[in-house]
């Protein structure tokens, strides 16, 4: 119940805060501070659950949580500071991904341990409730939480002094929150206990929930993307392995069916299956578990009491895997619909002059250098081409097709610090827009003549025809 309450609080607060930030439309300090609230609340929940789970180790958990949070905040800041602009996010994201994978695996193992009778998975499991075990768990979860919180901050080039100040501020904040959690924990009745498995699931769920609300730390979309690509590659590899060049022999009506496999829905549901199948299998294993033998008990009422206790215990054990399924599903669902609204302007119709050149003034009715995505629609010879002009944060103008070479051309929207492919939901950092490859928008050659951006109309149409229209046919099941 506590977990569900925390989950819903985090979600609703996150929505409110995001709306607030969007309303203000400015990255001022207040807006950023507000945006941190859901993450801090999630961390508060983690500390509370750990305090409850490691009853009797409250001081260790509190100290380790505070220390872990400060390490997470400063560590991520150092990463931001040490690497060039584009790299740190990959490092942070990978580190977080590995930590998540570890925590997720540990929680699944803990669930299994709590359900499989007499099976030991963790060596030295009894040490789990010792100060060292409690401290490590609290520290690890807090490092991840601290890193997630810091990712919400703008990646400013911080000096050593600001870094020090940030560490002190993080320490003070963590101190206040951890001791509030301790105070709340003391108010809760002793009958509310959290098992090791329940604790791990709750912590992972809250971390996942917190990270999924950060646009660039969303972990589920990449998973579904991988599934989608895996299915796509498998079909082609399978064809090639039986020496049938699929593109030549398979007719278009067959591709209409095979093409269904390459849809984003397959990626989404495939991702869900991978994500949830261990918890569901465990739930099923518990559901089909044999009840204890009561044949040796003479008195019927006693037999039934033992049986009822076993059924009740089985139901209680089912709660954790089922709850994990619910919270992971909620986080995955939220992850599929990032809470940030996209800047998605309607494409403006544009024409070429007699020499076939499209000329767009840099400073006219529209300011091309305002850092926003500006979409245009160019029609020639019955063909329609969508493209956009964008000034990257590095100050370079770029002209790109409103489509990539991989996905169906659903186009791009602009989010905070990135553009997003509407088809596969991949986020592309603004700094890499204009570079070819992958899910990046296909760059188009252009020139700047005086105060105008000039694009060759024929090049634009050819680029769209060669890279995009073929992709569109494949993705729609045509060939």
């Amino acid at each position: 119940m506590i977990l569900i309450f925390l989950q819903s609080s985090v979600f609703s607060l996150n929505t409110l805060v995001t709306l607030k930030v969007l309303e203000s439309n400015e990255r001022d300090t207040m807006a950023i501070s507000l945006k941190l609230i859901p993450h801090l609340l999630a961390w508060f929940g983690i500390v509370l659950i750990l305090l409850r789970g490691f009853a009797g180790r409250r001081s260790v958990v509190t100290v380790a949580s505070i220390a872990g949070f400060v390490i997470g905040v400063t560590g991520t800041c150092i990463l931001f500071r040490s690497f060039p602009v584009a790299i740190p996010f990959v490092v942070v994201k990978s580190a977080l991904g590995v930590s998540f994978l570890f925590l997720w695996g540990a929680s699944i193992a803990a669930i299994y341990r709590s359900t499989g009778r007499g099976i030991t998975i963790f060596q030295g499991e009894r040490r789990g409730n010792f100060p060292l075990g409690a401290g490590i768990a609290a520290c690890m979860a807090s490092i991840v939480a601290g890193a997630i919180c810091t990712c919400g901050l703008p990646a400013a080039g911080s000096t050593l002094l600001t870094l020090l100040l940030l560490a002190v501020a993080a320490g003070a904040l963590a101190y206040a929150l951890a001791y509030s959690a301790q105070a709340l924990d003391k108010l809760l009745p002793n009958s509310y206990t959290v098992s090791l498995s329940g604790m791990l699931v709750a912590v992972v769920a809250l971390l996942l929930c917190s990270s999924s609300s950060l646009l660039r730390l969303d972990l589920f979309s990449p998973l579904s993307m991988k599934v989608m690509k895996g299915v796509h590659d498998f079909v082609h590899q399978f064809m090639e392995s039986i020496l049938i060049p699929d593109h030549l022999f398979i007719r278009s009506y067959i591709w209409k069916f095979i093409g269904l496999l390459f849809g984003k829905e397959v990626g989404f549901w495939g991702g869900l299956v991978i994500w949830f199948i261990p918890a569901l299998l465990i739930a099923m294993a518990i559901g089909f578990e044999r009840l204890p033998s009561v044949a040796h008990l003479r008195q019927g009422a006693k037999r039934r009491t033992v049986m009822a206790a076993a059924i009740r215990e089985r139901r209680c054990r089912l709660v954790i895997p089922l709850l994990s399924v619910v919270v992971f599903a909620t986080a995955a669902y939220q992850s599929s619909f990032p809470s940030v609204e996209y800047w998605d302007p309607k494409p403006l119709p544009i024409t070429a002059d007699q020499s076939g050149e499209i000329t767009i003034p840099k400073k006219g009715e529209i300011d091309l250098e305002d850092g926003k995505l500006h979409k245009y629609l160019f029609k020639q010879g019955g063909r329609e081409v969508r493209f956009f002009v964008l000034m990257t944060p590095a100050g370079q103008l770029t002209v790109d097709l409103d489509a990539c070479a991989i996905c169906k051309p659903d186009g791009y929207g602009q989010a905070e610090g990135s553009v997003i492919c509407y088809y596969c939901k991949t986020l592309i950092p603004l700094d890499t827009v204009g570079k070819p490859g992958g899910c990046n928008p296909v760059p188009v050659a252009f020139s700047v003549k005086g105060e105008n951006v000039v694009i060759d109309g024929i090049t634009l149409v050819n680029s769209w025809s060669t890279t995009v229209q073929a992709t569109a046919r494949v993705k729609e099941g045509g060939k």
């Binding site: 008195q299 019927g300 009422a301 006693k302 037999r303 039934r304 009491t305 049986m307 009822a308 059924i311």
Partner: protein, 224 residues
Amino acid sequence: MSENIIETNGLTRNYGDICALKPLDLQVPEGEWLSVMGHSGSGKSTLMNLVGGLDRPSAGSLRVGGKDLLALTEDGLARFRRESVGIIFQQHHMVPYLTAVENVMMAQYFHSVPDEAEARSALERVGLGHRLKNRPGELSGGEQQRVCIARAIINSPKLLLGDEPTGNLDHKSTIMVMELLKELRAEERFTVIMVTHNQEVAAWGDRTIYLDDGVLVREERTAG
């Protein structure tokens, strides 16, 4: 000497201005068959309800099976009732659209989990093996009361309470029910407290107490 299963000290129950049970001190040893007699309104059913955990006293102390019933919460009291007490009423209070065996299984359901084989065997013990699938309306008064006995003992209670269980029965059925209770008590070793107006029924007990206007006025041991 056996321990007391029921111990009351100054047990009182008031309903507004009416004092249904005046301070009562009573001890019932484990395994005893206690008959409670008295006129209408003398406090017999009130005592029964208090001992069975169906009602709470206004004052005094009440321990049943070592449990202080005043200290129990509503949930605790419900658990006490389903685990420790079996009750047979004069009105049978059976579910009319359920069969005899289903009525017995209902008690199992509220206790722990239903077990049809055990419910059938309980009905066979009370001589109703041939009436398992009959609904209450298809059974005679004596047969219905025997279903109630099977229902009351199915959860192996420590205490069996009977609130005029033979009040609606003819002489032959009364004897049959009493003999059945005596037999079951010998096997299961539960304590019986039975409220009755009938001197002949009271004589089946080990001891009889007499209540008058909420006060214990007399008690006597049954000869033999």
